[in-house]
Amino acid sequence: MTKPATDDDMTNRTATHGPAADRVPGLDAAAGPFGRLREQLLGAAERFGAGPLSDILAGIVEDVDRALREPLEIFPVCHHSPSSATAMVRRLREKRPKVIYLELCEDLRPLLDELRNCTLPVALQSFASEIDGFPESWAPLSVIAPITEASAEYQAISYALTTSGVELVLVDRSTDHVFQWEPRDADKDDSDSGDSSGSADDEAALHGDAVGVEIGDLRPRFAELEEHLLHHGKVRHWSEWWDQYVEQPLVDADYDTYRQVMVLIGSLFRRLRPEGSARTRVDEDRERYMWTRIREHLASSGADPADCLYVCGAFHAASRVAEFGLHGATGTFEISPRTATKWQYGLIPSSHSAIEAQFGLAPGSVSIAAATWAKALQRSGIRPFRLTASAPRKARVKPTKPTVTVTDRLSQFLTTAPTPHGIDEQELLGWCVDIVRLARKNGYAASTADAIAVYETSVLLAGIRGRRRPTPYDFQDAAVTCIEKDTVPGRRDIARLCEILLGGDRVGKVGYDALPPLARDVLDRLRPLCLDLKKRTKQRALLDLDAEPHLRPCSDLLWILRRLLPHGVAEPIMGSRRLGERAIQESWDLAIGRNMRAIVELGYEGVTVEQVLEQRLRKAVHAPDATAAGALAAVEDSLLYLDSRRFTNELGARAVELLSAERTVDDAPEVLRRARMLLAYYQTTEPELPEWLKAFVTAGYAHYCTLLPTAFTDDATGARQVAAMLGFLLGMENLALSLGCDHTQLELAVQQSHPEDPAKVALLWAAQTQLGLLPLDELRRRCDDLLDNPLVVPSFPLYLSGFVQALEPVPSLAPLVVEILSKAFARLPDTVLLPWLPKLIGTLKDHAAEMVPVLVREAGRTFPATLRALDDWTPPWSAAPAASAPSARATDAGPAGDLLAEHPATCDAVAALLGLPPDWPTPSSPASKANPLLAEHPATAEAVAALLT
């Protein structure tokens, strides 16, 4: 297909569907094996009134006739149908075809050989995370095709793979085409992926959100017809109807009857469904695709069509596209090339409930089909084909050439009431006893009396529903009626228990050899744990890393798995992995077997988990929305999980690039936190900081200095971000200066900052104090002024918020913050204080790790520890100030001070100019206090002198 289906195409295609086109050329209405049946049906249609009914009734007979006359034998199947499977076994044993064409995505073929290593049900998966040619929002793409044992396709596959000289050709569109043919404007989730999202059950969620494809989807796509059939069949679900009216009557039918009935049903559903829907168009294109592929193969291989078998859904067997058949139209359909999307293939475990949830089947129906299949095998004695790991290919037995004669089996089938195939008495009795036992296990107060009641009710229900024997569904209803009371005591209700009883939910396993290399590698590397990781239950692993150092690689692997896989696959119960820490004991809950799909899908990304992690980290730091904080997180991950200095340095270098390119400071708190952590790690473990980290500190210093004035004034930047920037600048200043940064850059940046927001003003004051630009007393005085000014009081809490934030960049400010907070609580009116309190608590709670310890420690130092002491306590800031000490700046002693003191003329002149008295404080010599002390205790000084001389 090169072009999407247009209306014109539809006109052309539907032109082939008219009644005239349905007539088989050269076949008179009354002739042929189905002539009598056709006449009967037309007669019936006339009695109901002519019109479309006669077309439909005549059409379905012609469809059957046409499908049966096709030189390439068409084998119509229905999905998860035991009768299809038994008919297939019989037919394969009889015909022994050389080539089997199967309606399954053609690119899944290599996977089929791996089925021999699996326990069914498993699903063939095609997966693409890197997509090309599809909308980005569709990624990742995933298609699954579940395979169960009780299916015709599995029998065909097993036959082909276990018999020498048999070729198996998949002819349906590739998985790439599945998505190519999806409407682009529709939401991907609305496609035929079933309603798996609704199911909370673990087993039902095995397929994830993959799109499901299956062979032989046979269901009326005409809601009213389905409703009608269910209503008159006195059944609740389509699967139940199918089982009762098609499956059971056909399970022991001969091949001709089976084939004719299936094509008839396929044709009926096809003719009754609404014309022109997108789904119909896709189905028809698939048929064109399949016939094109079949003809291509026949032409290239030169196989005799008589030796071939085409296995497809009954719906497609009754196809009316022009390309149908070996002699159908050619050249009208062109297969479009695949997109550049890179597809990966693998097998994932599936389960009956996952299949039911994916394809909207009744709960328990696949299990019931499996049970019917087992029963049919036992009853008929046929030997099914089965793939086993070691079975050699058997020689092909010479086929018995069947003569192609078509005889009418439909008339008899349609006019005979189906033989009842309900459960037999012994089986029903067994179920009744078992369900009571199961119910008791699950907390129900059920007894033998209930078993008797269930038996009696099953029979009565079958009677009222017009069945001679109860079906499994009748039994389920009876069990619910008799045992279910007002509450469900345990996790499972009676309906669920019945499903478990009627075959249970079988969960498949993908064998070791069929796993991708990554999954095999994981299982191999975890072998020292001595656990059966393929079990579906949770396994507890205990790792004493001191006593058993050989388990350390297992521990490393488990931490990587935890990092890569969804929650619940590998969860540490004890032990942690943080920078600079190594646990000596760890215990893990492992659910590897239950989550094999996740590991298989991980396998599509690489060969080892380390490679996958490396790729993911690299991808994350090079993504268009990558941030410096994200890159630092990647560095941390690399240090924790990958022992690769080269790769860590690469990620670090990328972090530097990202930081320099960032124009916002939204991530500043995260950058600060991570940078501090990495610095602490490297300073304690390495003799020297790595180059990238040095570069990061210098680049960060310059970067934040540049952005500081803007951040102070920008409304969009919060106080928390500014505090983090200051934290970076002030906290790492020593390191930055040692690496060549210039302190003046920071001073200038602070001086250029003119915030208006009170919180940021408080932060600026704190920064100025730290830089020595604003004395502490001056800051205290400013705060007192604010509290004294009735116009500013309402906004005082905002200043306080700023000071609280300043605790991080300027921890030395803690005493002042405690003081201001105390004053605020003492002096602020309740109307101002109370509305702000929740915010303060919220801020402290959010940043508890950084702020609370500092604040509490300082408060502990300031306030008295006992109640009694509180009575006599005077806050240090209220105590009478000691003799006013000259300001630190003024008393600085040193060569400059000494010079000025010796030659005061210049300063006196300046003071006179400014109108100040020339009153200079005497510089206090640091030695002045020490001298008397040394004079009193000379021993130390003398000892030092003795040492030096």
Partner: protein, 371 residues
Amino acid sequence: MSDQMLRAPAEVKYADELDYLESVDDAPKPFSWRLSPRMVRTFILGSERSDGLDREIPQKWFGDRTFVERAIVTLASDRGLLLIGDPGTGKSWLAELLAAAICRNSTLVVQGTAGTTEDHIKYSWNVSMVIAKGQSRESLIPSPIMTAMEQGVIGRFEELTRASSDVQDALISILSEKYISIPELDTDNTVFAKPGFSIIATANSRDRGVNDLSSALKRRFNFVRIPVVTSKKAEAEIVRFRTAELLKRHRIDLEVAPSLLEVLLQSFADLRAAAASARSDDEKLESALSTAEQIGVLEDAILHSQFFGERELRPETLASSLVGSLARRAPEDLAILNKFWHGVIEPRSKKEAGPWQGFLEGGREALAKLS
């Protein structure tokens, strides 16, 4: 006969249909049943063309077919039937129909209340006769359940969980041994149940925890849970059916416009959605918002229109009836309705116009009067 009763029981009301079904029913019948199980189903769920009856039997109970089938087979078995569900889901109606179809007598009913005693379930004495003639079968007053046993028909127990636990337990021996002893009498002192006797009880799932059934009694009942009708189509059908019945009973010739029915159903659906998302009891209406409640609202509006209005059901009357029926607690219910009217009905009336506008006005007025 049904003309002389305010509300005729189902067996009287549908006597014709039952006679007809009995006349054509040739399938085997359990015990002394008047109809075979399949015909009971046909009577309750209505006939189909494929049944081959030459007369149409209308549907009387609207719900999943499986529930009816399970109920019928339970009555044909050895156990009692307990219909459990939210108020207004049609449990009692189903019980009545079942009893009427099976034994043509749906009136042997015990109503469970806090004041129900064991005498109501077993028997009591006519004191005057006891004084005059002494204790004998003549002076004994059998309970409806005892009568059902004697006649081999269905006895009904409404609201089983409203009766206290010790009274409920009186049913245990009746359901297992199928007889009642009268120790006061020396002879003829056991009443044995005849074949065909069974009990249909109903219980309100909202009463769970008030008087829980003992496990011994639970064992003797099959539980059939009747869910709240959530399908709008089915609910419309029920409301239409019941309203037609009420109109007929009151001999009122009044047409309910389909658009008004739609307004009622939609409002209830919206109110249910609001109740489902409420976080506390104060945020949802006290009413269970059941289908029966809808029928009540509609009946109230119809009667009001008939006797105080213009003999035509108007959206204003419907709104006022809805507010009147649902505003039980002041101010909680009024606040919820007020919010509902402004947040849901007002935008809807702007968007869809039609009867919604009158509905909006009527509701506002009713709320203003109540506030």
